[in-house]
Symmetry: C2
Subunit: 208 residues, 2 copies
DNA sequence: TTGCATTTCAAATGCGCGTTTCAAAAGAGC
DNA sequence: GCTCTTTTGAAACGCGCATTTGAAATGCAA
């Protein structure tokens, strides 16, 4: 062991990685500092030394996770950009390649919001939603009021995050349901089609 | 004080009511037995006496909450029944009249499923989803495969529960957003229209 | 009235866990 | 080599909280 600067940094990273997984899987309260340090192969005092306290570690983890934003398709006709946005969202949820615990962490943060959530909303979520509103507006041919556009964006996002937030129920209703890349693509097809239909209906002005 | 059978029952009920609110608001771990007993005006030992332990109380609460199922419109054309189902779902989420903590409790249960969730899925959720599938099938004129029907039901449900699961984000994106009965009705309009459009698009066979 | 069963009460117990402490290890600068 | 700073290590502290305990209170039956 050589406690040099790079070694210290390595310890920090091991703690963040271990804590990210465990926090996402079990929530803030459930997780013990001992458990995190065990997996990170760090001493019990490392958390307090590097992050002040347990909450400081959590915030570092959340901030670190928030860095991997969904990459979106910025060019092309609105149908293509819609499809790209859906895949980006589902990619976060299904997390086939990425660190799979970010979406779960986000879900937990939504249930018990802290100040960290405000930052993430401002820095990441709002810009993304603004872009979605633009796409929806174009798809509707400019025939939607602001409120309707906003609600349509919610309907779109809802269909994606549903597979994260209600996975427990989905898995029980449909034991055969898979959550791999192939299924992700099929769901993306469905959500894109359903959303196009929904927007078309809204734009047509028909009310049920 | 008269520790008779009805008094004992009253204590049980006070504990369940108090615990329901507090569990829903703060989660299982956060809540202390002391806090529950304080609000229920019961002794600290009452929880262990009546429910064995804290977990036993939680399960009793969840079972009790699961009894208030969404009342659905069973007759009429599928458009009307769809609208009824949307309102029932949103009613659970917005909880304008009902015990408002059921939806929150359900959300928590979805994140950390216990055996209790299996029962609730079998007894309440699956029958409800079966009915939704029937409605969707009728709306599509029988032109949807089972898989597409199921996904459409998910898209429908997702739009409703989104207002529960992501309320923290919605409130931050839209500080003016209200969650009262009036807004609930407008959202029901939107979700019903959006869903009709989505189903129509799926039934038309068009793919993006 | 007097035992008996049920429920409530206040205090105590025990323990899990975040945090602190203080010493040891290991470079960095002189 | 020697001090100084940074990082790690093992053990201990202290607190919060679920749970237990044993007695008191209360109704019921004989």
């Amino acid at each position: 062991m050589s406690p040099t600067a790079t070694q210290s940094e390595a310890t920090r990273e091991r703690l963040i990685d271990a804590a990210g997984e465990i926090f996402a899987a079990n929530g803030f309260r459930q997780v013990t500092v001992r458990e995190i340090c065990d997996r990170a192969e760090a001493n019990i005092a490392a958390v307090n030394y590097h992050f002040g306290d347990k909450r400081g570690l959590y915030e570092a983890v959340f901030r670190h996770a928030a860095l991997c934003a969904p990459p979106t398709q910025l060019e092309g006709p609105p149908e293509v950009r819609l499809r790209g946005a859906v895949e980006a969202l589902l990619g976060c949820v299904f997390g086939v390649g990425r660190p799979t615990w970010y979406a779960r962490l986000m879900m937990r943060e939504m249930m018990e919001p802290t100040e960290t959530l405000d930052q993430v909303v401002d820095e990441r979520i709002r810009p993304f939603c603004d872009e979605l509103e633009t796409i929806v507006g174009e798809l509707a041919g400019g025939r939607l009021a602001d409120t309707d556009r906003r609600r349509a964006v919610r309907s779109l996002v809802a269909q994606c995050v549903y597979y994260q937030h209600c996975r427990a129920v989905i898995a029980r209703l449909d034991p055969d349901q898979r959550f791999d890349a192939d299924e992700q693509a099929r769901i993306a097809d469905h959500v894109a089609a359903f959303t196009l239909g929904g927007i078309a209906r809204l734009a047509s002005g028909a009310r049920p």
